[in-house]
């Protein structure tokens, strides 16, 4: 029996079937899910349990034939322990949680995927979905990092660019790859010259997303901006604990998000300003 999604229950133990270095300090893991399941959707996340150490939300980079792809960089004790795991070891997953990116089924629109760091994981999965769509719409990916060795999925995006499947706009703070500067530079250039309307799909540090949101607001041609607020402290992942909730709407990132659209983001006064700690206290981003 193939399930639509995983049951929401205790961590489901998955074997690591592949581990490889993606870029500096960052590894890709492929996990084999023992339950036959149809699919994770771009923008959704899992709660990843490193047995005996920690559990945290993590974006999904790919899902095919019951194999889940995630990208991990060293961030804290949980990810540090995780990076020591090898092929054959087990990790627990709960999910797939949250809402997905909403891609319009029809109509002429430019899909603009903008991200940095970990944000590239859901954007990788979204890219896979978009390039499969029969309706050929323009896809542009804007990725920024400190330096070339920190650009996540560089080769993957560059290959798709070379194959004419999308346009890859890479940039680095030090100019070691792409142009020197932030993704916003090329993004604005694109918006000034672009024909037709555009949709943003953004994932990355929240301050960066807020800057991009403010840019998007200036252009009437930007018909929607969908941003992932998944990079927040979570306990349950399915709506009970509310440690990820945003004010003043009371939306829980894990079930009401993590993808929010322009209309929703406008109502979230916490967006780009405050996040919540594990005590429930707010901290400036």
């Amino acid at each position: 029996m193939t399930r639509q999604t995983l049951p929401n229950t205790k961590p489901i133990m998955c074997k690591i079937i592949k581990k490889e270095e993606e870029c500096e300090d960052t590894f890709t893991f492929l996990l084999e899910i023992p339950v036959k399941v149809q699919g994770a959707k771009p923008g959704q996340f899992i709660m990843l349990w490193v047995p005996g150490v920690d559990e945290f939300p993590i974006g999904i980079a790919g899902f095919e034939n019951n194999v889940l792809e995630i990208g991990i960089a060293k961030m804290g004790k949980g990810t540090e322990a995780l990076l020591k795991k090898e092929v054959g070891d087990y990790l627990g997953i709960r999910g797939f949680y949250g809402k997905q990116f909403q891609v319009p089924r029809e109509g002429e629109v430019n899909h603009l995927l903008i991200g940095g760091g970990f944000g590239m994981t859901p954007l990788k999965m979204l890219t896979t979905t978009l390039i499969k769509q029969e309706d050929k719409q323009e896809i542009h990916v804007f990725e920024g990092a400190r330096t070339k060795s920190r650009l996540m999925y560089l080769e993957w995006f560059q290959n798709l660019h070379d194959a004419g499947k999308l346009v890859f706009h890479a940039c680095t703070d030090d100019g070691s790859y792409g142009y020197k500067g932030y993704p916003t530079v090329d993004l604005e250039k694109f918006l000034q010259e672009a024909r037709g309307s555009s949709i943003f799909y953004v994932a990355g540090p929240e301050r960066m997303m807020k800057v991009i949101f403010d840019i998007g607001k200036k252009y009437d041609t930007v018909i929607d901006m969908q941003m992932s607020l998944a990079d927040r402290y979570m306990r349950c992942g399915f709506g009970v604990c509310s440690y990820c909730a945003v004010d003043p709407t009371g939306w829980r990132i894990c079930v009401d998000g993590p993808i929010f659209n322009t209309k929703q983001l406008e109502q979230i006064t916490d967006f780009g300003v405050y996040k919540r700690l594990e005590t429930g206290e707010k901290e400036r981003i």
Binding site: W49, P51, G52, E55, R235, F238, G239, V240, S242, G250
Partner: protein, 306 residues
């Protein structure tokens, strides 16, 4: 047909109250729960200082028994920081009960003193969290300690004090008796049951704190039994609020028949969209009242004691 419910001196628009620990970390989720149709909301348990609680995993579902296990461990921002959230709730006229905890009488008093000037419905005193090394349910298992804490807190405020009891004792009536003698205004039962889940692949407990508390459908028959026992002892002396495993209108009715004046709903409301769940529950209660010729919630209370 009237849904208004009286819990001692408090009147709320219906008997459905949001249980502590669910959707209770910020004013906005609490407001949302109230707007969705509840009678009142209870905040996350607030202590004297900010506290990170236990490491993750600290909450997950057990689908086969429609339940949750958690070991959040009283993570909270501390009363000074949480005051702002309560003020927002008061401003928006959300009927709010503040859940408080401490490791000892002094800490309970400090939290109560720090919040009692706010225009809230009352306090729920959490004597029963199973997920901490100190305080929590330890405090709630000793009748003398319970009596002393309740008496002290009662002397400090005119606001109603509800005492939330742990089921992890051999005689809940004895503990409830101590709380009643101390002067509490309502008894709330039950908090979560001590529980654990072990992963057989890696051979270790899954929760970061190893041990946790069980809530959800699996504990409903236990809650019903406790409420039934408590009602036999206290009947008209003090209101009893039933909590544990409610997810449907029928569950609410069952608790009322066992002797509850009102009920708290936790796990189920958090998992679903509160708006939908409360609508379904309310519809079902209404239907039951029509079929059984009840005109008010109060008439149902204790109906199973014949």
């Amino acid at each position: 047909m009237s849904f208004e419910t009286f819990i001692g001196s408090i009147e709320i628009r219906n008997p459905l109250i949001l249980a502590s620990g669910v959707l209770g970390t910020t004013y906005s989720t609490l407001q949302r729960a109230y707007t969705a149709g509840l009678g009142a909301v209870i905040t996350k348990s607030i202590g004297p200082r900010s506290r990170s609680g236990n490491p993750n995993p600290s909450v997950f579902a057990l689908q086969d028994i429609r339940s949750l296990i958690n070991s959040v461990g009283l993570a909270n921002p501390g009363y000074q920081s949480f005051r702002h959230d309560i003020e927002q709730l008061v401003k928006s006229e959300t009927p709010t009960i503040v859940s408080i905890f401490g490791e000892n009488q002094t800490e309970f008093s400090e939290v109560l003193d720090g919040l009692k000037d706010l225009n809230i419905l009352g306090f729920e005193v959490n004597l029963s969290c199973p997920n901490t090394d100190k305080g929590g349910s330890q405090i709630g298992t000793d009748p003398d300690t319970v009596f002393n804490i309740v008496k002290t807190l009662k002397s400090k405020t005119d606001l109603p004090l509800w005492i939330k009891l742990t089921p992890n004792v051999s005689d809940i009536v004895e503990i409830a008796n101590a709380a009643v003698k101390g002067g509490c205004d309502a008894i709330v039962a039950i908090n979560t049951l001590k529980a654990m889940v072990i992963d057989i692949q890696t051979k270790q407990p899954i929760l970061g704190f190893k041990r946790g508390g069980l809530s959800g459908s699996a504990i409903k028959p236990i809650g019903i039994r406790y409420i039934y026992d408590l009602y036999e002892s206290f009947k008209d002396k003090i209101p009893i609020i039933g909590v544990g495993g409610i997810s449907k209108g029928e569950d609410v009715v069952e608790y009322l028949l066992a002797g509850a004046t009102a009920v708290e709903i936790g796990s189920a409301i958090g998992i679903a969209y509160p708006e939908n769940m409360i609508r379904f529950i309310t519809m079902k209660i209404k239907k039951y009242m029509q079929e059984h010729n009840y005109s008010s919630i109060g008439e149902i209370t204790g109906g199973a004691h014949k």
